[in-house]
């Protein structure tokens, strides 16, 4: 665990000076409440995670996947967390921390709306006013999530600059924070941003691996051979990996979005993927030094993924570091294979995963499926896949994207061509 905010060369605090005092205050609160459980903060957090969030989530044997892949495949069911994704673990932790710190207002950014809805839920639960910044284009793509945030009493502020997506929403939220830093806490949605966010978000999310580790011991009497998780910013990844990092025998696989291709168009400033760990390079984005998608000059590129939750040009610094030191293997899965995996899990296991999550299953198929070549298969006999979220939010996208492609295992969806 890092307390100085550095993970090897990565991490740090690259933010405007106006924010630094707030960040120091947060560092202090993080150390006192989170690391040292002052005033019983962590106890209250864990209790609320259990009662409000629905923890622990099961570690479920996936019978039909186990059969398909000829090994024990277990699912860590974060899709069952209140709100439908692991995102609440973090949002609840941060909003509660803000309350302990005496803050009176919460702001957050959101891309697909998952972090925004999680934050809105946590704020309603803990009676905190909340404003969410969201790119205008994302607002139009994710209307149900916008509506959910409003139902929970949050304001949703459209961000119109640039492409109107997550990147711009983060910048805009930082601006709000810089203006209202004294009474406001910014709930960052992943293990990104300046220290202490990457460590703090990891700690809130590490309940995933804490539970999974115990559950694996209970169910199979041993640790898994490998753990797979999709990586956008990397919070479900770090949550699923954290407690296994020191177990050298456990392989850790971060599955990024390969998008439509891994090739990058430098001139247009576009990466048709968000596989920062594979195609990116070291740089400074949103407060931290980490691995990012950038052009030769250091301008941030537009990323792409079928799943808006993975559609981000950076990745958390700790994850970048763990990949750097070869503790975590960075891999990626493209749009088509993720979509196929989405359908496969729905049909075989009765779990409709988030499109983000589907990437992790896409990797399992690539390595262990009928068309895989044996030599790439290092996953072992006991694989845990982190089901970071449920797919209800993605039904419209699934219809559109399945329609555009030729996904042979998809059900006939003719009656849905016009959308839901």
């Amino acid at each position: 665990m890092s307390v100085d905010g550095k993970f090897g060369e990565f991490g740090g605090q690259y933010v405007p000076e106006a924010l630094m005092p707030a960040i120091e205050e947060l560092e202090d609160a993080y150390e006192r409440y989170v690391l040292n459980n002052e005033d019983g903060f962590m106890d209250e957090f864990r209790t609320r995670l259990r009662d409000f969030g629905g923890r622990p989530t099961p570690l479920q044997r996936a019978d039909r996947l186990s059969e398909r892949y000829g090994r024990e495949v277990y699912l860590k069911r974060e899709d069952l967390v209140h709100g439908g994704a692991h995102k609440l673990n973090n949002a609840l932790g941060q909003v509660l921390l803000a309350k302990y710190m005496g803050k009176e207002r919460i702001i957050a950014e959101t891309g697909a709306g998952q972090h925004g809805t999680a934050t809105a839920m946590a704020c309603a639960h803990l009676d905190m006013p909340c404003e969410i910044y969201m790119g205008e284009r994302d607002i139009n793509r994710q209307r149900p999530n916008v509506f959910r945030m409003k139902l929970n009493g949050s304001e949703v502020n459209p961000v119109t600059v640039g492409r109107g997506t997550l990147k711009e929403a983060i910048s805009e939220t930082m601006r709000d924070w810089a203006t209202n830093v004294e009474d406001t806490h910014y709930v960052i949605g992943s293990v990104v941003g300046p220290h202490p966010f990457p460590s703090m978000v990891r700690d809130f999310q590490s309940v995933i691996s804490e539970e999974a580790r115990t559950q694996a011991q209970e169910k199979l009497g041993r640790l898994p051979d490998s753990v797979l998780a999709c990586a956008g910013g990397g919070s479900n990844t770090m949550g699923a990996f954290a407690e296994f990092v020191s177990d050298d025998e456990v392989g850790l696989y971060a599955v990024e979005a390969g998008g439509s291709t891994l090739e990058v168009d430098e001139d247009a400033g576009v990466a048709p993927n968000s596989a920062s760990l594979t195609t990116g390079s070291e740089g400074i984005l949103h407060g931290a030094r980490t691995t990012i998608l950038q052009d030769h000059d250091g301008q941030i590129m537009e990323s792409h993924s079928i799943s808006s939750g993975l559609d981000y040009a950076g990745v958390g610094p700790e994850l970048a570091h763990l990949v750097d030191i070869d503790r975590v293997t960075a891999v990626n899965v493209g749009d088509d294979d993720a979509l196929t995996a989405f359908h496969r899990l729905s049909q075989l296991e009765g779990i409709i995963p988030a499109l983000e999550t589907a990437h992790a299953f896409g990797y399992l198929e690539a390595v262990a499926g009928p068309d895989a070549t044996d030599e790439t298969d290092a996953l072992g006999e006991f694989v845990v896949v982190n089901v970071s979220g449920r797919g209800d939010k993605d039904l419209e996208s699934a219809i559109e994207e399945t329609y555009e492609r030729d996904i042979d295992i998809a059900p006939n969806m003719d009656e849905f061509t016009g959308g839901l």
């Binding site: 405007p16 000076e17 810089a178 984005l285 301008q299």
Partner: protein, 292 residues
Amino acid sequence: MSLEDAFADGPAFIPYLAAGDPDYESSLEYVEALERGGADIIELGLPFSEPIAEGPTIQNAVVRSLQGGMTPTRFFEFVEDLDVSVPLVCMTYYNLIYRYGDEPGPRPFVEKAASVGIEGFVVPDLPAEESEPLREACDEFGLDLVFIVAPTTRGERLERIMEQVSGYVYVQARLGTTGAQTDVSDQTDSSLARIADYDVPKAVGFGISSGEHAERIVRSGADGIIVGSALVDIVAEGTSAARQTQSDDVATGHERGDDPQAVADRLETLARELKDGAMVGASQRPPHPERT
């Protein structure tokens, strides 16, 4: 001339423009107009795709400049092509500095900047804690590193910054991001008071938009004023008027007169107003400012 020297003859007027906004040629003219208007130092923005410390005015300038093809390489050409004699400060975000050249790290960027005549840097997303590598490169090539002091910066933090700063300290007049304001923030006075003891020029920025503001702020003890958004607004208006004109041309043949020269003139006029305001403010200052 070093940055600190620019404060020698009374209050310094430090205007900001994004280089290449809205295009390379016009931007050269605009920057030169600032000098004619009385600039003592000019802050030249090298646009970054994620300008997290800027308000909407400068965000849009950044977008225009990037769309106009501005890159770090072009930026250095721009500086070389500029015909001004006042010192230039490069204002940009750390990733562009860090990524320039063949190896990650700030040295190649600083070396190049020095070679084209840049005198210093303001890097809004680089707090004192992370500035060592850049500081070292600046020392090596004899450039200044300006730091921002916010209304929230106190105690140990303030000391750490003031130990590292050189050229001038950028006193952020209010919380928030850049952007022209119609009033002067009360936070300015207390910020200035907090750093009164340090022996480095204090330039106040964020929100100054008129001669009157400039006057008030200098009267309160600032050694200089930094003005960005109010000037960028003029470029923005000129740009949209010019765009308007282009379409009007087709439709009505009517010429609105917002050619770059007219914009440059307006920039010069506002610059002069600001500079004059600062001078008036200086003349009204108590004769012996209490510096212990």
